[in-house]
Symmetry: D2
Subunit: 341 residues, 4 copies
């Protein structure tokens, strides 16, 4: 059965594995102090047009989120998130486990706006309540939507005006940046946020998220935070090698573009067949709505996750494509859908 | 310059990489629910002769320590460790960051004894002090020493009598179990401890520590703990594949045996040349004592870590061998040492 | 200006102060191991008809909440609360600071129901999300409403069925139990919850909340929790003496009854004058809705807190009465309101 | 039986109680925003000759320690303490529960020195270890010793040079400042430390510790910390009234002077009878060494705590005097001791 369950069902792009193999018997300095990591960081700095950034490559996304957030906040400070935000729902309370409240705002399409952040600020007025200090957004979001440059600029301006840190979770940054409706670059993001990361795990690396810190006051002693949370990989060059490959010759963008292209084929076919979507996504996650009967049939040939119930007889499912999604897999799905009519 | 800095300077055994390559484009279930991990767990259960154990493979050692300890303790409970224990010194307060005090006992050779644990119990008598509840030991220890079966049996008996959990950090388990003076098996360790782990990172895997929980009450909901601490690897089968290889055809033991053999060559040569050691190690870490002058000469040809100052003109250094240490590298060191006479 | 700001604007009932004075120069055992505390606990046990309960008297409410909750939960477990719950809004993230997520459910009248708790359970399905384990309710609630016996029985049954702890914050327990519509007793509450507390601070003690633990598994080593959170009062007998007085000769109920009676006079006058209320309260907190203009006039003669804006020209304010509220103060307010017509 | 168990066996000085009684029915603003607290803070500022200090009065000592320390440190930072320090031994891991390691240094007389702090700094060299950032000292110490001006100046200079915060626990500040060998004033302490507190609980208040923050960067948003840890007393004026009395007409010093005078009588008599002491204390805690037989006899007439075993037949006990210790109680003890000869 072909799987559209997620974008981390396969390993890594062959070029990445090849590079890891070639370096296998070289003696490297541990804990990300090696030359591969140094080179990867240089490549990323160039890509984001920001040579003053501090960059740390960390194994996983939840880890990166909890480290970045707990490094930035004092004990009584909170992070504002869309209620659909990964940190609010899918990290088993990882942020709270570091002592901080997540202030969840209802954002119908998964994106925070200055108005929603203002609402959180208005509510928290004194020392009997937590103090909002960071705004957490995802791009693309957990439901496939994404920020435009105008939107991110507005949010950035608002955060700076109110002395809030703006943090972008980029676990699916590649999908956002190569979406047909995107008008942001990594350089824009580096300029408009205080800290963000570029996801490798969901875009063709074995694992690895490159955390970029541009705000000066968030940089200090960051490696202590990484080590304390158990996230300093002994063989850190494995992370460095992967990001060297991702940011050489556009591999990062090429893989994401492929994932989006595969999603587009699915989206077009579904639309053509008259299906609607729970969320409006132009990235690699689609949320088509089917009748329970159709879902049952689909589940006999494909694997995917349920998203949520829409009415008594219909639910949205989640289809995810990736760098590794094959044209055959997509064609099979499209033909199956067409055959249902 | 040849490096004796640590046992994680190279990547992984070629057989491990080969297996990862072969599985690269297969679609796997995420988060360690895949068949490779299932198979690896079966292999380990067989090796430890304990089919009721719960086994979780986790990326790194500090991560594994902090998860296992914070999962077992109530907020006011503490873990007893030798003062040289990894959790006490080299984890940036990772255990304290989960809320728990580490009670450090001075153990000259890095090993805890019932008498040392008793001392901690005697001191902590009421609710104004933390409550000791877990005993943390390492095998081999951070200074290369190891537990005999008799010693571990005594400690295990003592812990059960006093309702203390016994946790063994096995980051260097391979080195301990293949040391010439070892009389323990993994089955003994599974029987005598409540929770322990088998280290992959320092014994020829890219990364990965297999945590084995034998005590019933420590098993519940453990995957929640892993996820909350950011330690649930999306592509968890990467861990599974590595431990499949480690526990097929004795690769785990063979690699550790090689590391110990290389250390033996160094130890014999050093002894023959009249050098003494800061600690008595029969595993892959050696702590020879040299004059400052000799250390300076060595440092021009080899890399290694300083351990501690012994007197005004002498220090102990740390030499570590691994599965990847070459006979050439060792020979070069031996010849250099002999040439100093 | 007479204050209706809260129920802790004055000190303590004179009988309580008298008892404290009388004991002032006696040498007492510290840390709540004294005879006054012992006696107070006996009186409470008798009142709740439960001699197996463990009872600890703690200085303040936020303290009691954070200790009771963090003592009961494992790191990945969460507590369900109405979104208006004190722990969710007015404790500066005290629960999150102990590592636990508060799952806030929208409950229009501040009370949780089995259906609302079920909703939280349905959403949290696996180890990628926190595990709901405790249900937190307040009686009376933060908005003056209260639980009936039928409602509490239903919630209790539901919690036991789903192995959830039921915790009642009784900071305003007196107001709830002496409300004209109440049909619960402390004995009922002891029977239907797992842990609850009886508030002294807001009902005529200088300070003090008596935490009652009836669930066996929540009792163990509780004094360690109290001490660790900095809540073990050196001169603990001060707490004991106050609860001795509260539970001798019905002082606890008499004071709460007075507070409710004073609120009734206000409620009747406001209703008679045609004002409506933001919440339906029969206890000592009232939330009348006034025009901005009226509020401005009131604020020149009385102090009170704003609650929330109802529309463009009206807001709800909060009026709180207490054991110490004088008939003169109430009469003055009533006359002022009547004079506005 | 007369008790020398501690300095918090009785209530409060009658003048303090009288002031509380007089204010009992006044309506006060809650949460320490009242005029009594304001006045107390002014009195303290005058006493310490520092009008820029931020002052917060908090119920208890462990609470004050954990709030002050966790407010100052980032997650990976640690506090250095003498191994006998209250935070290291007698607070049930309260500091670790906020996430921070206590680095315990062996200080034979309970006092830290620049050399001991340097030792801690030397050991903690990189991000694999915690980062020492605060130095915690007590005056008088847990074993009755105290700092001279020269010593405190040296420690202060050292801390500023190494960018370490210096925090003085003054639970027994009164005893230190009125000891015959003292040459420090509160103004000196305000000048030489970054944050310290003046203990009320152990010097004739019902409860209350006045925390003084002089270092600018430690002041921000401190009330959020107090509230989050459950330490913001609803009826905060109770704290204010007590410190008003303590710092009006020298009551604070007079009570401490009495405690020390009573200890002097005991010390002189014990010395005269040939007994020696485990620690050299000129404050209100004495640690005389007796044979087990003598201790048994003493225990039939007086209550006190055991300190530690000195040899097979002798132990040190702890005798504590207070503002409330009576001359009769002391005379009785002296006569008993003399009668043993």
């Amino acid at each position: 059965m072909y799987s559209f369950t997620n974008d981390y069902s396969e390993g890594a792009h062959p070029r990445i594995l090849k590079a890891m193999l070639e370096a296998n018997l070289t003696q490297n300095t541990g804990y990300s102090l090696d030359t591969h990591t140094g080179h990867a960081i240089e490549l990323i700095k160039k890509e984001i047009c920001c040579h003053e950034a501090d960059i740390h490559i960390i194994v996983g996304g939840t880890q990166t989120n909890l480290i970045a957030i707990s490094a930035a906040l004092r004990p009584f400070q909170a992070v504002i998130s869309a209620s659909t935000g990964h940190i609010n729902v899918h990290e088993t309370g990882a942020i709270e486990a570091t002592g901080h409240k997540v202030l969840a705002m209802t954002a119908p399409d998964g994106r925070l706006t200055p108005a929603l952040v203002q609402e959180a600020l208005d509510f928290h007025t004194d020392e009997h309540m937590v103090q909002p200090k960071m705004v957490y957004i995802s791009n693309s979001t957990e439901i496939g939507t994404q920020y435009t440059k105008t939107e991110l600029e507005a949010l950035s301006r608002f955060c700076r005006l109110h002395d809030l840190y703006l943090f972008m979770d980029g676990a699916r940054m590649g999908a956002a940046l190569t979406s047909p409706v995107n008008d942001l670059t990594l350089a824009d993001i580096a300029r408009l946020t205080d800290v963000f990361y570029i996801g490798g795990t969901k875009n063709g690396a074995l694992f690895g998220e490159a955390l970029v810190i541009t705000r000066e006051e968030l940089k200090a002693d960051f490696r202590f935070m990484i080590k304390q949370r158990g996230a300093m990989l002994a063989k850190g060059w494995l992370l460095g090698i992967q990001f060297e490959e991702l940011f050489q010759n556009d591999l990062f963008y090429d893989m994401a573009r492929h994932a989006n292209a595969m999603a587009s084929v699915l989206r077009d076919a579904l639309t053509e067949c008259g299906y609607s979507f729970a969320y409006d996504s132009m990235t690699n996650q689609l949320f088509p709505i089917f009748s329970d009967e159709t879902i049952e049939k689909l589940a006999q040939h494909f694997t995917f996750n349920m998203d949520r119930r829409m009415d008594e007889t219909h639910s949205a499912i989640r289809l995810v494509t990736s760098w590794a999604t094959t044209e055959e897999g997509v064609r099979e799905f499209v033909e199956f859908i067409r055959g249902l009519r």
